[in-house]
Symmetry: C2
Amino acid sequence: MGLMELTTTSDRASIVSINLFVALLCGCIVIGHLLEDNRWMNESITALIIGLCTGVVILLLSKGRSSHLLVFSEDLFFIYLLPPIIFNAGFQVKKKQFFRNFITIMLFGAVGTLVSWAIISLGATQIFSRMDFGDFDIGDYLAIGAIFAATDSVCTLQVLHQDETPLLYSLVFGEGVVNDATSVVLFNAIQGFDMSKIDPKIALHFIGNFLYLFFTSTVLGVIAGLLCAYIIKKLYFGRHSTDREVALMMLMAYLSYMLAELLDLSGILTVFFCGIVMSHYTWHNVTESSRITTKHTFATLSFVAEIFIFLYVGMDALDIEKWRFISDSPGTSVAVSSILLGLVLLGRAAFVFPLSFLSNLAKKSTSDKISFKQQVIICWAGLIRGAVSMALAYNKFTSLGHTNLRGNAIMITSTITLVLFSTVVFGLLTKPLIRLLLPPLKHATSAASSDPNSPNSLGVPLISHSQDSDSFLSGHDIPRPSSIRMLLTTPTHTVHRLWRKFDDRFMRPVFGGRGFVPVVPGSPTEGNLS
Amino acid sequence: MGLMELTTTSDRASIVSINLFVALLCGCIVIGHLLEDNRWMNESITALIIGLCTGVVILLLSKGRSSHLLVFSEDLFFIYLLPPIIFNAGFQVKKKQFFRNFITIMLFGAVGTLVSWAIISLGATQIFSRMDFGDFDIGDYLAIGAIFAATDSVCTLQVLHQDETPLLYSLVFGEGVVNDATSVVLFNAIQGFDMSKIDPKIALHFIGNFLYLFFTSTVLGVIAGLLCAYIIKKLYFGRHSTDREVALMMLMAYLSYMLAELLDLSGILTVFFCGIVMSHYTWHNVTESSRITTKHTFATLSFVAEIFIFLYVGMDALDIEKWRFISDSPGTSVAVSSILLGLVLLGRAAFVFPLSFLSNLAKKSTSDKISFKQQVIICWAGLIRGAVSMALAYNKFTSLGHTNLRGNAIMITSTITLVLFSTVVFGLLTKPLIRLLLPPLKHATSAASSDPNSPNSLGVPLISHSQDSDSFLSGHDIPRPSSIRMLLTTPTHTVHRLWRKFDDRFMRPVFGGRGFVPVVPGSPTEGNLS
C-alpha cells in the first residue's frame, strides 16, 4: 500500500535491489568489525566475499537466469562512488608528509604507471596477437595496458598506519591516488587519439596534453577549495551555522569533481587537491562541531563507498552472461588471465626497485631513504587490481555495441578473474606479509594519538625526522645567515619554508586557516557545539 | 579528456544537469544565509525563486525547446529526498513535547487530513463535474482530495523556534509529518481500491487497511531503531569506531524506509519512528564524536534535500510541455486553481478550529490549551502546498499513458500554480504574520541554548509546564499513594510515567540510552574525538 503501487515492475525490482544492497552493506560493516582482529581478513575482502556469496545465492534462486539484477555501471562508479573516496583521501592526508615526498610520489605514481603501462601493452601486443582469440589493433593493446596499470592500494592502506610508518604510508597512499589519475587520463587519451598511425608529432602532442591535464586539474581543485574557504570566511564570519557550513563544503567538493568532468579534466586529481586545500584552509574557518562533523562524515562516506565497490564487484562477477562466451574455451581465458598477471607482476617490479634506487640517491639522511623491506611493501601494494580496472575494462569492451565478440568477452572475464584473484589472494596475504616485514615493535616508538586540531593530525611531530620544519621555522620573520646555507643544502625544506612564509603572509589572511580566524566577542565560541 | 569521452551524449547532458544543480544549491545556501535577517524571505522561497529564474534562463537559452532538461520524478523524490527529511524530523524532534501532545497531533494530522480530504473531494466532485474540462470518475476526485490534502509546513517551521514556542512547534511539526503519511497512505489506498462502487463493506475494509498500515509502519520503524541500538551496544561496546557507527546508523535508517516501501507500508511513518527510537537509544550508545557527527549530518542532509526540492519544483514548473495543452483555455486553468485554493482554505479552516476546541476541552491547565492566535498559525501553516502534492499529482495525472488528455494537463498545471502561489505568497507572509501574532518578546522568557547531551535538546526545562515529568519521576521505585491520585487525575502523565518505568527497567538495560552505557576502563573515553 506504500508508494509501490504507484510504480512499475522495474521500479519494484530497483527497490528490491536497494534493500538487498543496503542490508548487505550493514552486514559487511558488522562482520568487518567482528573480524577486525583477524589475522587475514580485512573489510574489503569481507565485502568482496559477501558479494560473491550473494551472487551465488541470486544465481541459484533465479536458476541461472539472473544476469542483469546488478550490472557494474561505470557511471555509478565514476560519478557517485569514486569522488567521496578521493576527496576524503585528500582531506585526511598528512599534507606535510605528502609534500615532503612529493617528487618520489610523482615518480612512482606517474612515471611508474607509465612504465607499467608500456610493459603490459608491449607484452599484450606480443603474446595476445599470436593467440588468435580476438581482433585487436594497437589502440586496443594500449588500452589494455592502461586498464591493468590501474592499481588498488586500499587493502594495503587498511593494514598500514599513518602514525606508525608515515613515510611508507604516504608513499603507498600518494602513489595510489596519482596512479588512479594517471591511468584514467591515459586511458581517455588513448581512446581520444587515433593510434593506428603513431609518429613523433602525435606522441609529443599526447605528452603535452597529458601534462596540461595534470596541471589544469590541480589548479581547478585548488581554486574550488580556496573559493569555499573564502566564502565561509567572508560570509559566516562570526555567525556560524553548522548545517550550512557542512552542506557548502560537501557541495563545493562535489562540484569541483563534476566541473572537472564537465571540462574534460581529471576529476580525480581535482577533487584530491580540493580536499587538501579544504583541510588546510576551509576546515579551520568553521565551527568546532562542523570540524568534527566534516571529518567523520567524509571518512564515513568514503568508507561506505569502498565497501559498496567491493560488494558490487563481488556481486557482478558472477553475472552469467559474461561467462557464456568463454565456456567453450576455458583454457584460453585462464591463459589470458595468467599472462596478464605475469605482466602486472613484471610491470610492477620493473619500476619500483629502480625508481626507489633513484629516489634514495637524492636523499641525504638514512631515515628518508626507502629501505628494501619498504620497497617490497610498495611493490606488493600495487599488485592488486580493483574497481578502476573493472570500470575501464567495461568501458572499453562492452560500450561499443560489440559485447558479443569473443575477444571482448575474454578480456572482460579475464579482468574479473584478475581483480578477484589479486584482491582475495594478495589481499589475504597482505596482513601477514606486512606483519612479517614490519613487526609491530614499531608501535612502541610511534607518536601519540592524533591532534584534534587537524583532520589529518598535521600537528603530530614526525618521528625519525630530526629537522622538523615547524620548530625549524620558529623564528621566520628575519632571514638569518644559517637559513641561506640551508637553502643551498636542503632544497625541499627551503621550498617548504618559502611556502610557509607565503602562506602566512598572503594566503591565510585571505582564506583563513589554523589560527587565522579571530573569534569575535559575542559570536559563538569555538567550543560551542551547536 | 576526462571520463566524458567514455560516455554518450545523454550522459553528458546529465553531467551538465548535475553541475548546474550543485552550483545552484551552493548559490541557494549562500543567498539564504545573506537573507537570513530579511523580513520576508526564507530559505525555501529563495530556492523556489532561484529555481524559477533558472527555468526562465534555460527556456530562453533553448528558445522554448527545453522541456525535458529536468523533469520532476516521483522516484527521486520518494526514494532519495523525502527519507532524510523525515528521518531527521524524528531524530531532532523534542520527544517529550511530541508525546505529550500526541493525541492532539493525531487529531490534527490524521482526523484533520481526512476532513480536509473529504471537503476537497466533495467540492471538486460538485464543481469540476459541471465545468466539463475532463472525464473524471469518483476515484479521480477522491485522489484530487488526497493530493490537495497534503500540506507543506516547512516555511512555517523555519520561522517558529522549538525553544520559544514548544507547544506550537510540536503541533505544527507533528501535524506535518502525520499529514504527509496520511495523505500518501490515503492516495495509495484510493489507487488500490475500485472506487466506482462504494458500499459499507469496502469502506470498512478501507478503514481497517488504513489503521493496519499506520500500526505496522510504526512498529517496523521502532524495530529497526531498536535493532540498530542493540547491534551498536552489543558489538561496539568498549571499542568504538566512529565511521562504522555513523555508517551503520545512516544505513539502518535508510533500510527501514526502503523495507517499508518493499513491504507496501508507509515509509514516511517508519523512518520517522526509526528516527525517534534512534535518538532515544542508539544515539546514546555511540562515541561523543559520532553523536556530534550524526546530529549535524542528518540535519545537513535534510537541509540540502529541502533546498533541492524547492529548487527542483521551481525549475520544473516552467516545463513548456505542460503549459501547451492549456494555452487555448487559460481561463479554465485559472478558474480550477482558484477553486482548489478556495477548497484548500475551506478544508483547513473546517477542522483546525473545531479540533482545537475539542483538544482544549480535554486540557486542564491554561498553558496547555491552544490559544486563538496559535490556532490561526496552525491553520496558516497547513495552507501551503508543496512537493508531496506535486509528486502525487504527477503520479496520478501523468503515469498512465494519457498525459495528453486535456483534463490531466489542467490538473497538473493547476497543481503547479497552487504550489507556486501558496509557497511564494503565503510563504512570504509567514514571517510577518508570526511576528505580528507572536511578538518576539517571548524570546526573553525562552530557555537557554540546547543541551549538548541530546540531539533534540530533550533536557531543556520546558517553560510553562510546571509538572515537569523528570522531577516528578525522581523517586520512581515505590508507588506512593500520591501517584495513584495522579493516575486518576492526569492520565497522560501516568502513561508517560509508566513508560519511563518500563523504559528504565526493561528497555534501557538491553538497548542502551542516556546513562545506560557504562564506560569500560581502557576503552576510548567519552571525550575522545577520534
